[in-house]
């Protein structure tokens, strides 16, 4: 057990040392906050968004938490792809070290969670204060949802990358998928803005339900039924994690 913990921590530490150079971290934190805040506040100032959506939220509220959730999902998805497809560099070295494949996965996931807390969750807390929606229950539930999302989308990345022989092709595919997820998950516009044919794409996109659930937690308002959100998030998440684990097992030392 001790060995697993120290090895996982070594992997996490490596990822954190690479990603979290303090000045880069601080810059990206400020940059991300300013961008999201100004887009939201900018649209708030000239557009009475609440008239056009059934949620009765300001655009800045509607947009901010959702875009952070989307960014977290995307970075976990890419980290999942890298975990099995990019067998170069450090991963190649890891495979000749006496370490179990699940310790590698565990270490990578811890790094992703810590990275998420430092890069996105700090901004989420700031937004909850700005919108006067801060409570410890909200914060705790949002944290649980985001950690669950990390596991689900990392697993999804592993699973989807198993269909691609080359890492580069998997990355290219992920950028198309990212675009699709951005526009068809209710991050930018409420679901009821669109016609029925497009709504079908929304309903088929699992991220839609994660985002709706995050809005329920943050603002007690959502576009869909809360129980439907919970059901889809749980079922889709569990299936993704199972498939991701199976494919990870197959791919990592193959």
């Amino acid at each position: 057990m001790n060995k697993i913990i120290s090895q996982s921590w070594a992997i996490s530490l490596r990822d954190l040392r690479k990603k979290l150079k303090w000045w880069k971290y601080l810059l990206s934190l400020i940059f991300l906050f300013v961008i999201i805040y100004f887009i939201g506040a900018g649209i708030d100032s000239f557009f009475n968004f609440s008239q056009y959506n059934t949620l009765n939220l300001k655009y800045s509220e509607f947009f901010s938490i959702a875009i952070l959730l989307y960014l977290s999902a995307l970075s976990c998805f890419i980290s999942g792809i890298e975990l099995v497809s990019g067998k170069k560099g450090f991963l190649k070295f890891l495979l000749v070290v006496p370490i179990s494949k699940f310790t590698i996965l565990f270490g990578k996931t811890i790094a992703t969670i810590i990275n998420f807390i430092l890069s996105y969750f700090v901004i989420i807390i700031l937004f909850l204060f700005i919108f006067n929606r801060f409570s410890f229950v909200t914060l705790f539930l949002l944290f649980l949802l985001f950690v669950y999302l990390i596991f689900v989308f990392q697993a999804l990345g592993i699973w989807i990358s198993s269909y691609f022989k080359k890492y580069e092709t998997a990355r290219r595919f992920s950028s198309y998928l990212a675009l699709l997820m951005l526009f068809f998950s209710g991050i930018l516009f409420p679901l009821d803005y669109f016609g029925k044919s497009i709504m079908l794409i929304y309903y088929l996109n699992p991220l839609t339900y994660f985002i709706d659930l995050a809005r329920y937690i943050s603002f007690n308002l959502g576009s869909l039924n809360l129980y439907l959100d919970l059901l889809v998030v749980l079922v889709f998440g569990i299936i993704s994690i199972i498939l991701g684990t199976i494919y990870y097992n197959k791919r990592i030392r193959n």
């Binding site: 120290s6 070594a10 530490l13 490596r14 690479k18 560099g89 070295f93 890891l94 070290v97």
Partner: protein, 237 residues
């Protein structure tokens, strides 16, 4: 130290290694000499447990690759052909992370890193980012990481590829030093004849996935009354 029994490896329909059998003694520097695509790297990757063989098996220190791959990994070090260090970390950070992965405690880590830094003259470069190092220095840092767990067997995959002659010569001195100081068994793949000649106690000439000849370097030259280049050409026709 290493016993290989009828090892084969295929990727789809292409057979890369064909029935390789050989024994390597403790403390030996063993060379795998062959043309590009002969199967040297594949053999090293199989022996380092990075890829599983299609047929056959091998033992390192009595540990079988199919039954105890973890035990094998504890006893080996690998220096890959390409750079596998993190370029955006310092040499020290790279070594520290590798040491943690092998379960070395804080004091042991410091001691081991210091030992390797001195052994391979990396002192000045220790706190520099890997991306700022020259090709030769990067290779030396890779070598240090390969030795972090004090392995009994060290695999070097074309370690001096793309290094200039002077740096290559220096690197050979370090390999000899490691072999002498720690009695480390070294398996080295190369396509440089002079590298094999200068470093190796024995050489296996690999041609199209098979071992064409195994002999001591001296014996190879004596037997055919040729220089090693002539012997190499003879067995890789």
């Amino acid at each position: 130290m290493i016993k290989i029994n009828k090892l084969s490896k295929s990727f789809g329909k292409i057979q890369i290694l064909k029935d390789i059998s050989l024994n390597i003694k403790k403390g030996e520097i063993f060379g795998l000499l062959g043309e590009n695509g002969a199967g040297k790297t594949t053999l090293l990757m199989v022996l380092s447990t990075l890829i599983t063989p299609s047929n056959g098996d091998f033992f390192i220190k009595d540990f079988n690759n199919r039954k105890n791959p973890e035990k094998i990994r504890e006893n080996i070090g690998v220096v890959f052909q390409e750079l596998t260090l993190d370029e955006d970390l310092t040499v020290y950070q790279n070594l520290d992370i590798a040491a943690r992965l092998y379960g070395l405690k804080k004091e042991e880590r410091k001691e081991r890193i210091l030992f390797l830094v001195n052994l391979l003259d990396l002192g000045k470069e220790c706190n520099k980012l890997v991306e700022l190092l020259s090709g030769g220095m990067k290779k030396r840092a890779e070598l240090a990481r390969g030795l972090i767990n004090n392995p009994e067997v060290l695999f070097l995959d074309e370690p001096t590829l793309s290094l200039d002659p002077k740096t290559r010569n220096n690197f050979w001195d370090y390999i000899k030093k490691i072999n002498l100081k720690n009695k480390t068994t070294i398996i080295l793949s190369t396509n440089y004849i002079e590298e094999a000649e200068k470093l190796c106690d024995r050489i296996a000439i690999i041609h199209e996935g098979k071992i064409a000849k195994i002999e001591t370097t001296k014996q190879l030259k004596k037997e055919k009354k040729l220089n090693l280049y002539g012997v190499f050409l003879k067995y890789t026709k």
